[in-house]
Symmetry: C2
Subunit: 299 residues, 2 copies
Protein backbone atom coordinates (compact mmCIF):
# COMPACT_ATOMS: atom_id res chain seq x y z
CA UNK A 1 0.00 0.00 0.00
CA UNK A 2 1.14 3.50 -0.90
CA UNK A 3 1.84 5.65 2.17
CA UNK A 4 2.51 8.53 2.41
CA UNK A 5 1.10 10.13 -0.71
CA UNK A 6 3.36 13.00 -1.74
CA UNK A 7 2.36 15.74 -4.14
CA UNK A 8 5.01 18.11 -5.42
CA UNK A 9 7.19 18.84 -8.39
CA UNK A 10 9.38 16.47 -10.37
CA UNK A 11 12.03 18.50 -12.10
CA UNK A 12 15.23 18.54 -14.09
CA UNK A 13 17.59 20.80 -12.13
CA UNK A 14 20.74 22.53 -13.34
CA UNK A 15 22.70 23.72 -10.34
CA UNK A 16 26.00 25.53 -9.87
CA UNK A 17 27.69 26.01 -6.51
CA UNK A 18 31.25 27.00 -5.54
CA UNK A 19 31.96 23.24 -5.44
CA UNK A 20 30.85 22.20 -8.91
CA UNK A 21 27.86 21.93 -11.18
CA UNK A 22 25.30 19.50 -12.50
CA UNK A 23 22.91 19.66 -15.50
CA UNK A 24 19.38 18.28 -15.84
CA UNK A 25 19.69 16.27 -12.64
CA UNK A 26 16.73 14.60 -10.98
CA UNK A 27 15.09 17.16 -8.72
CA UNK A 28 11.84 18.74 -7.59
CA UNK A 29 10.12 18.79 -4.21
CA UNK A 30 8.29 15.46 -4.68
CA UNK A 31 11.48 13.63 -5.68
CA UNK A 32 13.54 14.81 -2.74
CA UNK A 33 10.64 14.25 -0.33
CA UNK A 34 9.81 10.77 -1.58
CA UNK A 35 13.44 9.65 -1.62
CA UNK A 36 13.76 10.83 1.99
CA UNK A 37 10.47 9.15 2.96
CA UNK A 38 11.51 5.92 1.25
CA UNK A 39 13.99 5.15 4.04
CA UNK A 40 10.97 4.56 6.29
CA UNK A 41 7.95 3.78 4.13
CA UNK A 42 6.57 3.26 0.62
CA UNK A 43 5.59 6.66 -0.71
CA UNK A 44 3.68 7.38 -3.89
CA UNK A 45 4.22 10.53 -5.95
CA UNK A 46 1.57 12.77 -7.47
CA UNK A 47 3.20 14.96 -10.10
CA UNK A 48 3.71 15.65 -13.79
CA UNK A 49 6.74 15.14 -16.04
CA UNK A 50 7.31 15.62 -19.77
CA UNK A 51 8.11 13.27 -22.61
CA UNK A 52 11.74 14.40 -22.24
CA UNK A 53 12.03 12.92 -18.71
CA UNK A 54 14.73 10.22 -18.61
CA UNK A 55 13.24 6.75 -18.04
CA UNK A 56 16.15 5.80 -15.81
CA UNK A 57 15.02 8.37 -13.26
CA UNK A 58 11.65 6.63 -12.96
CA UNK A 59 13.47 3.29 -12.69
CA UNK A 60 15.64 4.71 -9.92
CA UNK A 61 12.60 5.98 -7.96
CA UNK A 62 10.89 2.58 -8.34
CA UNK A 63 14.01 0.80 -7.12
CA UNK A 64 13.68 2.85 -3.93
CA UNK A 65 10.13 1.45 -3.46
CA UNK A 66 8.59 4.72 -4.59
CA UNK A 67 5.29 4.32 -6.45
CA UNK A 68 5.22 6.51 -9.56
CA UNK A 69 1.76 5.61 -10.84
CA UNK A 70 0.58 9.03 -9.74
CA UNK A 71 3.02 10.76 -12.10
CA UNK A 72 1.35 11.79 -15.36
CA UNK A 73 3.19 12.76 -18.54
CA UNK A 74 2.64 16.07 -20.27
CA UNK A 75 4.71 17.86 -22.88
CA UNK A 76 8.00 19.01 -21.32
CA UNK A 77 9.39 18.50 -17.80
CA UNK A 78 9.57 21.41 -15.36
CA UNK A 79 13.12 22.78 -15.38
CA UNK A 80 14.93 24.87 -12.80
CA UNK A 81 18.32 26.46 -13.24
CA UNK A 82 19.98 28.11 -10.26
CA UNK A 83 23.17 28.76 -8.39
CA UNK A 84 24.50 29.32 -4.90
CA UNK A 85 27.11 31.86 -4.02
CA UNK A 86 29.84 31.66 -1.44
CA UNK A 87 27.47 31.68 1.55
CA UNK A 88 25.33 28.76 0.22
CA UNK A 89 22.33 30.00 2.17
CA UNK A 90 20.05 31.14 -0.60
CA UNK A 91 19.43 29.67 -4.04
CA UNK A 92 19.51 32.27 -6.82
CA UNK A 93 17.25 31.36 -9.73
CA UNK A 94 18.67 31.82 -13.23
CA UNK A 95 15.76 30.35 -15.13
CA UNK A 96 12.49 28.57 -14.47
CA UNK A 97 10.64 26.70 -17.23
CA UNK A 98 7.32 25.63 -15.76
CA UNK A 99 6.44 23.67 -18.93
CA UNK A 100 3.96 20.86 -18.20
CA UNK A 101 3.43 22.14 -14.62
CA UNK A 102 1.36 24.98 -16.13
CA UNK A 103 -1.39 22.63 -17.22
CA UNK A 104 -1.14 20.17 -14.32
CA UNK A 105 -4.43 19.37 -12.67
CA UNK A 106 -3.72 16.57 -10.24
CA UNK A 107 -5.66 13.32 -10.46
CA UNK A 108 -5.33 10.90 -7.58
CA UNK A 109 -5.18 7.22 -8.68
CA UNK A 110 -7.61 4.93 -6.87
CA UNK A 111 -4.83 2.99 -5.16
CA UNK A 112 -3.63 6.23 -3.49
CA UNK A 113 -7.04 7.17 -2.10
CA UNK A 114 -6.81 4.94 0.97
CA UNK A 115 -3.50 6.41 2.09
CA UNK A 116 -3.48 7.62 5.70
CA UNK A 117 -0.55 10.02 5.46
CA UNK A 118 -0.19 12.92 3.07
CA UNK A 119 2.79 15.14 2.50
CA UNK A 120 1.97 18.22 0.50
CA UNK A 121 5.42 19.20 -0.72
CA UNK A 122 5.96 22.59 -2.30
CA UNK A 123 3.58 23.14 -5.25
CA UNK A 124 0.55 25.36 -6.04
CA UNK A 125 -1.69 25.39 -2.90
CA UNK A 126 -4.77 24.79 -5.06
CA UNK A 127 -3.29 21.47 -6.16
CA UNK A 128 -2.42 20.66 -2.54
CA UNK A 129 -6.04 21.33 -1.56
CA UNK A 130 -7.34 19.10 -4.33
CA UNK A 131 -5.29 16.19 -2.99
CA UNK A 132 -6.64 16.71 0.53
CA UNK A 133 -10.16 16.53 -0.88
CA UNK A 134 -9.55 13.33 -2.85
CA UNK A 135 -7.88 11.16 -0.20
CA UNK A 136 -10.73 9.38 1.57
CA UNK A 137 -9.82 9.33 5.21
CA UNK A 138 -6.37 10.73 5.94
CA UNK A 139 -4.97 10.55 9.46
CA UNK A 140 -2.28 13.15 8.99
CA UNK A 141 -1.79 15.95 6.49
CA UNK A 142 1.65 17.58 6.56
CA UNK A 143 2.08 20.66 4.39
CA UNK A 144 5.10 22.53 3.11
CA UNK A 145 5.13 25.69 0.98
CA UNK A 146 7.47 28.43 -0.23
CA UNK A 147 7.67 32.22 -0.47
CA UNK A 148 6.45 32.20 -4.10
CA UNK A 149 2.97 31.15 -2.94
CA UNK A 150 2.95 33.68 -0.10
CA UNK A 151 3.67 36.37 -2.68
CA UNK A 152 1.28 35.16 -5.35
CA UNK A 153 -1.51 33.04 -3.83
CA UNK A 154 -1.71 33.99 -0.19
CA UNK A 155 -5.49 33.57 0.04
CA UNK A 156 -5.46 30.07 -1.47
CA UNK A 157 -2.41 29.20 0.62
CA UNK A 158 -4.16 30.14 3.88
CA UNK A 159 -7.24 28.14 2.84
CA UNK A 160 -5.09 25.05 2.33
CA UNK A 161 -3.16 25.57 5.57
CA UNK A 162 -6.49 25.51 7.42
CA UNK A 163 -7.04 21.94 6.18
CA UNK A 164 -3.58 20.75 7.25
CA UNK A 165 -2.61 19.11 10.53
CA UNK A 166 1.02 20.14 10.51
CA UNK A 167 2.55 23.10 8.71
CA UNK A 168 6.26 22.88 7.86
CA UNK A 169 7.98 25.99 6.57
CA UNK A 170 11.24 27.82 6.92
CA UNK A 171 12.03 30.79 9.19
CA UNK A 172 11.92 33.35 6.37
CA UNK A 173 8.53 32.09 5.20
CA UNK A 174 7.17 32.06 8.77
CA UNK A 175 8.20 35.69 9.26
CA UNK A 176 6.81 36.69 5.86
CA UNK A 177 3.46 34.91 6.10
CA UNK A 178 2.63 36.21 9.57
CA UNK A 179 4.34 39.59 9.19
CA UNK A 180 6.45 39.37 12.35
CA UNK A 181 10.20 39.07 12.94
CA UNK A 182 9.55 36.83 15.96
CA UNK A 183 9.42 33.11 15.21
CA UNK A 184 7.48 32.28 18.40
CA UNK A 185 4.82 34.83 17.45
CA UNK A 186 4.69 33.45 13.89
CA UNK A 187 4.40 29.88 15.16
CA UNK A 188 1.57 30.80 17.54
CA UNK A 189 -0.31 32.49 14.69
CA UNK A 190 0.19 29.41 12.50
CA UNK A 191 -0.96 27.11 15.32
CA UNK A 192 -4.37 28.79 15.17
CA UNK A 193 -4.79 27.59 11.59
CA UNK A 194 -3.67 23.95 11.79
CA UNK A 195 -4.95 21.16 14.00
CA UNK A 196 -1.73 19.74 15.41
CA UNK A 197 1.65 21.37 15.07
CA UNK A 198 3.88 23.92 13.39
CA UNK A 199 7.46 23.18 12.39
CA UNK A 200 9.91 25.92 11.48
CA UNK A 201 12.98 24.81 9.52
CA UNK A 202 16.07 26.92 10.22
CA UNK A 203 18.71 25.34 7.96
CA UNK A 204 22.04 25.05 9.77
CA UNK A 205 20.36 26.18 13.01
CA UNK A 206 18.08 23.12 13.20
CA UNK A 207 14.30 23.12 13.46
CA UNK A 208 11.59 24.13 15.93
CA UNK A 209 8.39 22.26 16.76
CA UNK A 210 5.45 24.08 18.31
CA UNK A 211 2.34 22.31 19.59
CA UNK A 212 -0.42 23.84 21.69
CA UNK A 213 1.46 23.49 24.97
CA UNK A 214 4.96 22.27 24.13
CA UNK A 215 8.07 23.38 22.33
CA UNK A 216 10.95 21.37 20.90
CA UNK A 217 14.21 22.69 19.52
CA UNK A 218 16.14 20.28 17.29
CA UNK A 219 19.84 21.00 16.87
CA UNK A 220 21.38 21.44 13.44
CA UNK A 221 23.94 18.86 12.37
CA UNK A 222 27.38 20.55 12.25
CA UNK A 223 28.21 20.14 8.55
CA UNK A 224 31.56 21.44 7.42
CA UNK A 225 31.30 20.50 3.76
CA UNK A 226 28.10 21.56 2.07
CA UNK A 227 28.18 20.92 -1.67
CA UNK A 228 24.58 21.62 -2.67
CA UNK A 229 21.70 22.43 -0.29
CA UNK A 230 19.01 22.01 -2.99
CA UNK A 231 16.13 19.89 -1.72
CA UNK A 232 17.13 19.81 1.96
CA UNK A 233 13.82 21.30 3.06
CA UNK A 234 11.91 18.78 0.93
CA UNK A 235 13.98 15.92 2.38
CA UNK A 236 13.17 17.15 5.87
CA UNK A 237 9.40 17.15 5.30
CA UNK A 238 9.46 13.85 3.41
CA UNK A 239 11.51 12.03 6.04
CA UNK A 240 9.37 13.54 8.82
CA UNK A 241 6.14 12.29 7.24
CA UNK A 242 7.68 8.98 6.19
CA UNK A 243 8.84 8.26 9.72
CA UNK A 244 5.41 9.07 11.17
CA UNK A 245 3.68 6.87 8.59
CA UNK A 246 6.02 4.02 9.49
CA UNK A 247 5.58 4.34 13.25
CA UNK A 248 1.90 5.38 13.23
CA UNK A 249 2.48 7.32 16.44
CA UNK A 250 1.42 10.95 16.32
CA UNK A 251 2.43 11.83 19.89
CA UNK A 252 4.48 14.98 20.40
CA UNK A 253 7.31 12.77 21.60
CA UNK A 254 7.38 10.79 18.37
CA UNK A 255 7.11 13.96 16.28
CA UNK A 256 10.35 15.08 17.94
CA UNK A 257 12.06 11.91 16.71
CA UNK A 258 10.56 12.38 13.25
CA UNK A 259 12.03 15.90 13.13
CA UNK A 260 15.48 14.62 14.03
CA UNK A 261 15.27 11.96 11.29
CA UNK A 262 14.24 14.75 8.94
CA UNK A 263 17.30 16.78 9.95
CA UNK A 264 19.59 13.78 9.53
CA UNK A 265 18.48 13.05 5.98
CA UNK A 266 18.53 16.74 5.03
CA UNK A 267 22.09 17.01 6.35
CA UNK A 268 23.24 14.05 4.26
CA UNK A 269 21.48 15.47 1.21
CA UNK A 270 23.56 18.68 1.37
CA UNK A 271 26.80 16.72 1.10
CA UNK A 272 26.55 16.11 -2.64
CA UNK A 273 24.83 17.44 -5.75
CA UNK A 274 21.19 16.80 -6.47
CA UNK A 275 20.00 13.47 -5.07
CA UNK A 276 23.45 11.84 -5.32
CA UNK A 277 24.13 11.56 -1.60
CA UNK A 278 20.79 9.92 -0.89
CA UNK A 279 21.76 7.12 -3.28
CA UNK A 280 24.58 5.89 -1.08
CA UNK A 281 23.37 6.18 2.50
CA UNK A 282 21.57 3.44 4.39
CA UNK A 283 19.68 3.08 7.67
CA UNK A 284 22.93 2.47 9.52
CA UNK A 285 24.26 5.87 8.41
CA UNK A 286 20.97 7.47 9.40
CA UNK A 287 20.92 5.91 12.88
CA UNK A 288 24.56 6.89 13.39
CA UNK A 289 23.85 10.55 12.72
CA UNK A 290 20.63 10.38 14.77
CA UNK A 291 22.75 9.24 17.74
CA UNK A 292 25.28 11.99 17.09
CA UNK A 293 22.49 14.57 17.26
CA UNK A 294 21.50 13.11 20.61
CA UNK A 295 25.00 13.50 21.96
CA UNK A 296 25.52 17.07 20.76
CA UNK A 297 22.42 18.34 22.55
CA UNK A 298 23.04 16.67 25.93
CA UNK A 299 23.64 18.75 29.04
Amino acid sequence: MVDPVIIGTVALDSIKTPFGKVDDALGGSACYASLAASFFSKPGILSIIGKDFPKEFITFLNQRSIDTNGIVTGDKTFKWKGYYEFDMNEAKTLDTELNSLLSYNVEVPDQYKDAKYIFLANIDPELQLKVINEIKNPELIVMDTMNFWIDNKKKELLETIKKADILVFNDGEARQLFETPNLVTAAKAALKLVSKAVIIKKGEHGALLFTKDKHFSAPGYPLEKIKDPTGCGDCFGGAFTGYLSKTKDLSEKNMRKAIVYGSVIASYNAEDFGTERLKNINMEDIEKRFDELKSIREF
Copy 2:
Protein backbone atom coordinates in the same frame (compact mmCIF):
# COMPACT_ATOMS: atom_id res chain seq x y z
CA MET B 1 38.02 37.03 47.08
CA VAL B 2 37.30 38.58 43.70
CA ASP B 3 36.59 35.95 41.02
CA PRO B 4 36.15 36.24 38.09
CA VAL B 5 37.93 39.43 37.14
CA ILE B 6 36.02 41.08 34.31
CA ILE B 7 37.44 43.79 32.10
CA GLY B 8 35.12 45.68 29.77
CA THR B 9 33.24 48.91 29.36
CA VAL B 10 31.00 50.66 31.87
CA ALA B 11 28.68 52.93 29.95
CA LEU B 12 25.67 55.18 30.01
CA ASP B 13 23.37 53.81 27.28
CA SER B 14 20.49 55.56 25.54
CA ILE B 15 18.44 52.97 23.72
CA LYS B 16 15.29 53.09 21.63
CA THR B 17 13.39 50.01 20.47
CA PRO B 18 9.85 49.54 19.06
CA PHE B 19 8.81 48.90 22.69
CA GLY B 20 10.08 52.06 24.38
CA LYS B 21 13.22 53.97 25.24
CA VAL B 22 15.64 54.66 28.04
CA ASP B 23 18.24 57.41 28.55
CA ASP B 24 21.65 57.23 30.23
CA ALA B 25 20.92 53.78 31.64
CA LEU B 26 23.59 51.63 33.25
CA GLY B 27 25.27 49.66 30.47
CA GLY B 28 28.57 48.51 28.99
CA SER B 29 30.03 45.05 28.50
CA ALA B 30 31.57 44.80 31.99
CA CYS B 31 28.32 45.79 33.73
CA TYR B 32 26.15 43.27 31.91
CA ALA B 33 28.81 40.56 32.28
CA SER B 34 29.40 41.16 35.99
CA LEU B 35 25.69 41.35 36.81
CA ALA B 36 25.22 38.01 35.02
CA ALA B 37 28.26 36.49 36.77
CA SER B 38 27.06 37.77 40.16
CA PHE B 39 24.33 35.12 40.26
CA PHE B 40 27.10 32.55 40.70
CA SER B 41 30.20 34.28 42.06
CA LYS B 42 31.77 37.53 43.26
CA PRO B 43 33.16 39.28 40.20
CA GLY B 44 35.36 42.35 40.17
CA ILE B 45 35.28 44.92 37.37
CA LEU B 46 38.21 46.53 35.61
CA SER B 47 36.99 49.62 33.77
CA ILE B 48 36.81 53.39 33.67
CA ILE B 49 33.94 55.79 34.31
CA GLY B 50 33.70 59.60 34.43
CA LYS B 51 32.89 62.10 37.13
CA ASP B 52 29.36 62.23 35.69
CA PHE B 53 28.70 58.55 36.52
CA PRO B 54 25.75 58.26 38.97
CA LYS B 55 26.87 57.02 42.39
CA GLU B 56 23.72 54.92 42.74
CA PHE B 57 24.89 52.73 39.86
CA ILE B 58 28.04 51.86 41.80
CA THR B 59 25.93 51.24 44.91
CA PHE B 60 23.71 48.92 42.86
CA LEU B 61 26.69 46.93 41.55
CA ASN B 62 28.11 46.62 45.07
CA GLN B 63 24.75 45.41 46.38
CA ARG B 64 25.04 42.56 43.87
CA SER B 65 28.40 41.56 45.43
CA ILE B 66 30.31 43.04 42.53
CA ASP B 67 33.67 44.52 43.47
CA THR B 68 34.17 47.93 41.85
CA ASN B 69 37.63 48.74 43.22
CA GLY B 70 39.01 48.08 39.75
CA ILE B 71 36.94 50.91 38.26
CA VAL B 72 38.93 54.14 37.91
CA THR B 73 37.44 57.57 37.35
CA GLY B 74 38.42 59.75 34.42
CA ASP B 75 36.72 62.76 32.92
CA LYS B 76 33.42 61.71 31.31
CA THR B 77 31.74 58.30 31.11
CA PHE B 78 31.64 56.38 27.82
CA LYS B 79 28.23 56.92 26.22
CA TRP B 80 26.44 54.88 23.59
CA LYS B 81 23.25 55.87 21.85
CA GLY B 82 21.51 53.35 19.60
CA TYR B 83 18.26 51.89 18.41
CA TYR B 84 16.74 48.67 17.19
CA GLU B 85 14.30 48.45 14.35
CA PHE B 86 11.38 46.13 13.90
CA ASP B 87 13.49 42.98 13.59
CA MET B 88 15.47 43.62 16.82
CA ASN B 89 18.41 41.65 15.49
CA GLU B 90 20.98 44.35 15.01
CA ALA B 91 21.74 47.45 17.08
CA LYS B 92 22.10 50.58 14.98
CA THR B 93 24.48 53.10 16.53
CA LEU B 94 23.37 56.74 16.55
CA ASP B 95 26.26 58.13 18.54
CA THR B 96 29.32 56.89 20.42
CA GLU B 97 31.19 59.16 22.84
CA LEU B 98 34.29 57.25 23.91
CA ASN B 99 35.21 59.98 26.42
CA SER B 100 37.37 58.57 29.26
CA LEU B 101 37.74 55.23 27.45
CA LEU B 102 40.16 56.97 25.06
CA SER B 103 42.77 57.44 27.77
CA TYR B 104 42.08 54.21 29.68
CA ASN B 105 45.14 52.16 30.46
CA VAL B 106 44.00 49.39 32.76
CA GLU B 107 45.67 48.92 36.13
CA VAL B 108 44.90 45.74 38.00
CA PRO B 109 44.49 46.25 41.80
CA ASP B 110 46.56 43.89 43.93
CA GLN B 111 43.50 42.17 45.35
CA TYR B 112 42.48 41.13 41.79
CA LYS B 113 45.84 39.60 40.92
CA ASP B 114 45.18 36.26 42.59
CA ALA B 115 41.93 35.68 40.70
CA LYS B 116 41.76 32.33 38.92
CA TYR B 117 39.10 33.19 36.35
CA ILE B 118 39.19 36.06 33.88
CA PHE B 119 36.46 37.22 31.56
CA LEU B 120 37.71 39.60 28.91
CA ALA B 121 34.46 41.26 27.88
CA ASN B 122 34.35 43.39 24.77
CA ILE B 123 36.98 46.17 24.90
CA ASP B 124 40.25 47.01 23.08
CA PRO B 125 42.24 43.74 22.70
CA GLU B 126 45.40 45.50 23.88
CA LEU B 127 43.72 46.20 27.23
CA GLN B 128 42.52 42.59 27.36
CA LEU B 129 46.10 41.40 26.81
CA LYS B 130 47.39 43.66 29.56
CA VAL B 131 44.98 42.07 32.06
CA ILE B 132 46.11 38.57 31.07
CA ASN B 133 49.70 39.60 31.75
CA GLU B 134 48.94 41.10 35.16
CA ILE B 135 46.89 38.32 36.74
CA LYS B 136 49.42 36.05 38.41
CA ASN B 137 48.24 32.54 37.79
CA PRO B 138 44.89 32.34 36.03
CA GLU B 139 43.22 28.96 35.53
CA LEU B 140 40.83 30.08 32.83
CA ILE B 141 40.78 33.02 30.44
CA VAL B 142 37.51 33.51 28.57
CA MET B 143 37.53 36.15 25.86
CA ASP B 144 34.78 37.99 23.99
CA THR B 145 35.20 40.57 21.25
CA MET B 146 33.22 42.39 18.56
CA ASN B 147 33.36 43.25 14.86
CA PHE B 148 34.85 46.72 15.58
CA TRP B 149 38.13 45.10 16.69
CA ILE B 150 38.16 42.69 13.74
CA ASP B 151 37.88 45.72 11.46
CA ASN B 152 40.35 47.95 13.28
CA LYS B 153 42.82 45.88 15.32
CA LYS B 154 42.83 42.42 13.80
CA LYS B 155 46.53 41.79 14.46
CA GLU B 156 46.29 42.74 18.16
CA LEU B 157 43.02 40.82 18.44
CA LEU B 158 44.61 37.61 17.12
CA GLU B 159 47.57 38.04 19.48
CA THR B 160 45.20 38.25 22.44
CA ILE B 161 43.08 35.31 21.25
CA LYS B 162 46.24 33.18 21.27
CA LYS B 163 46.56 33.80 25.02
CA ALA B 164 42.93 32.86 25.75
CA ASP B 165 41.59 29.46 26.75
CA ILE B 166 38.06 29.97 25.46
CA LEU B 167 36.96 32.33 22.72
CA VAL B 168 33.33 33.46 22.78
CA PHE B 169 31.99 35.38 19.81
CA ASN B 170 28.88 35.60 17.69
CA ASP B 171 28.20 33.91 14.36
CA GLY B 172 28.75 37.07 12.31
CA GLU B 173 32.09 37.74 14.00
CA ALA B 174 33.15 34.10 13.54
CA ARG B 175 32.43 34.28 9.81
CA GLN B 176 34.16 37.66 9.49
CA LEU B 177 37.30 36.83 11.47
CA PHE B 178 37.98 33.55 9.67
CA GLU B 179 36.61 34.62 6.29
CA THR B 180 34.28 31.66 5.82
CA PRO B 181 30.48 31.37 5.73
CA ASN B 182 30.69 27.99 7.47
CA LEU B 183 30.55 28.11 11.28
CA VAL B 184 32.16 24.68 11.71
CA THR B 185 35.10 25.79 9.58
CA ALA B 186 35.37 29.07 11.52
CA ALA B 187 35.24 27.23 14.84
CA LYS B 188 37.96 24.78 13.76
CA ALA B 189 40.19 27.68 12.72
CA ALA B 190 39.58 29.40 16.07
CA LEU B 191 40.30 26.17 17.95
CA LYS B 192 43.85 26.27 16.59
CA LEU B 193 44.43 29.57 18.40
CA VAL B 194 42.98 28.89 21.87
CA SER B 195 43.85 26.17 24.35
CA LYS B 196 40.42 24.84 25.26
CA ALA B 197 37.21 25.73 23.44
CA VAL B 198 35.36 27.99 21.05
CA ILE B 199 31.81 29.17 21.66
CA ILE B 200 29.68 30.71 18.93
CA LYS B 201 26.68 32.74 20.11
CA LYS B 202 23.76 32.64 17.67
CA GLY B 203 21.18 34.85 19.41
CA GLU B 204 17.70 33.32 19.12
CA HIS B 205 19.24 30.17 17.60
CA GLY B 206 21.20 29.30 20.75
CA ALA B 207 24.94 28.71 21.01
CA LEU B 208 27.53 26.20 19.83
CA LEU B 209 30.48 24.81 21.76
CA PHE B 210 33.44 23.30 19.95
CA THR B 211 36.28 21.51 21.73
CA LYS B 212 39.02 19.42 20.09
CA ASP B 213 36.85 16.32 19.76
CA LYS B 214 33.32 17.25 20.83
CA HIS B 215 30.48 19.47 19.79
CA PHE B 216 27.54 20.83 21.78
CA SER B 217 24.52 22.68 20.44
CA ALA B 218 22.56 24.66 23.05
CA PRO B 219 18.98 25.50 22.11
CA GLY B 220 17.74 29.10 22.13
CA TYR B 221 15.05 29.97 24.64
CA PRO B 222 11.81 30.67 22.74
CA LEU B 223 11.23 34.32 23.68
CA GLU B 224 8.11 35.94 22.32
CA LYS B 225 8.56 39.37 23.88
CA ILE B 226 11.96 40.91 23.36
CA LYS B 227 12.10 44.49 24.61
CA ASP B 228 15.80 45.25 24.35
CA PRO B 229 18.56 42.79 23.40
CA THR B 230 21.39 45.14 24.45
CA GLY B 231 23.96 43.30 26.56
CA CYS B 232 22.69 39.76 25.94
CA GLY B 233 26.03 38.63 24.54
CA ASP B 234 27.86 40.14 27.53
CA CYS B 235 25.43 38.45 29.93
CA PHE B 236 26.10 35.15 28.21
CA GLY B 237 29.87 35.38 28.61
CA GLY B 238 29.65 36.72 32.17
CA ALA B 239 27.27 34.02 33.36
CA PHE B 240 29.30 31.33 31.58
CA THR B 241 32.52 32.40 33.31
CA GLY B 242 30.77 33.05 36.64
CA TYR B 243 29.28 29.56 36.67
CA LEU B 244 32.66 27.97 35.90
CA SER B 245 34.37 30.01 38.62
CA LYS B 246 31.73 28.89 41.09
CA THR B 247 31.89 25.18 40.19
CA LYS B 248 35.65 25.05 39.46
CA ASP B 249 35.00 22.26 36.98
CA LEU B 250 36.41 22.84 33.50
CA SER B 251 35.22 19.57 31.98
CA GLU B 252 33.41 19.74 28.64
CA LYS B 253 30.31 18.46 30.39
CA ASN B 254 30.32 21.33 32.87
CA MET B 255 31.03 23.86 30.12
CA ARG B 256 27.78 22.69 28.49
CA LYS B 257 25.90 23.56 31.67
CA ALA B 258 27.69 26.91 31.90
CA ILE B 259 26.56 27.70 28.34
CA VAL B 260 22.95 26.92 29.18
CA TYR B 261 23.13 29.17 32.27
CA GLY B 262 24.58 31.85 30.00
CA SER B 263 21.65 31.44 27.60
CA VAL B 264 19.13 31.58 30.44
CA ILE B 265 20.43 34.86 31.83
CA ALA B 266 20.79 36.38 28.35
CA SER B 267 17.18 35.43 27.60
CA TYR B 268 15.93 37.14 30.76
CA ASN B 269 18.03 40.20 30.00
CA ALA B 270 16.25 40.73 26.67
CA GLU B 271 12.87 40.97 28.39
CA ASP B 272 13.34 44.54 29.63
CA PHE B 273 15.41 47.66 28.96
CA GLY B 274 19.03 47.94 30.01
CA THR B 275 19.81 45.91 33.12
CA GLU B 276 16.23 46.21 34.51
CA ARG B 277 15.25 42.57 34.11
CA LEU B 278 18.38 41.31 35.85
CA LYS B 279 17.33 43.31 38.94
CA ASN B 280 14.25 41.21 39.56
CA ILE B 281 15.22 37.63 38.78
CA ASN B 282 16.62 35.18 41.30
CA MET B 283 18.21 31.71 41.25
CA GLU B 284 14.79 30.08 41.29
CA ASP B 285 13.86 31.85 38.03
CA ILE B 286 17.20 30.83 36.56
CA GLU B 287 16.84 27.16 37.52
CA LYS B 288 13.28 27.14 36.17
CA ARG B 289 14.37 28.31 32.74
CA PHE B 290 17.40 25.98 32.84
CA ASP B 291 14.97 23.07 33.30
CA GLU B 292 12.75 24.37 30.51
CA LEU B 293 15.74 24.36 28.17
CA LYS B 294 16.34 20.75 29.14
CA SER B 295 12.79 19.79 28.25
CA ILE B 296 12.71 21.60 24.90
CA ARG B 297 15.75 19.74 23.61
CA GLU B 298 14.71 16.23 24.65
CA PHE B 299 14.08 13.54 22.03
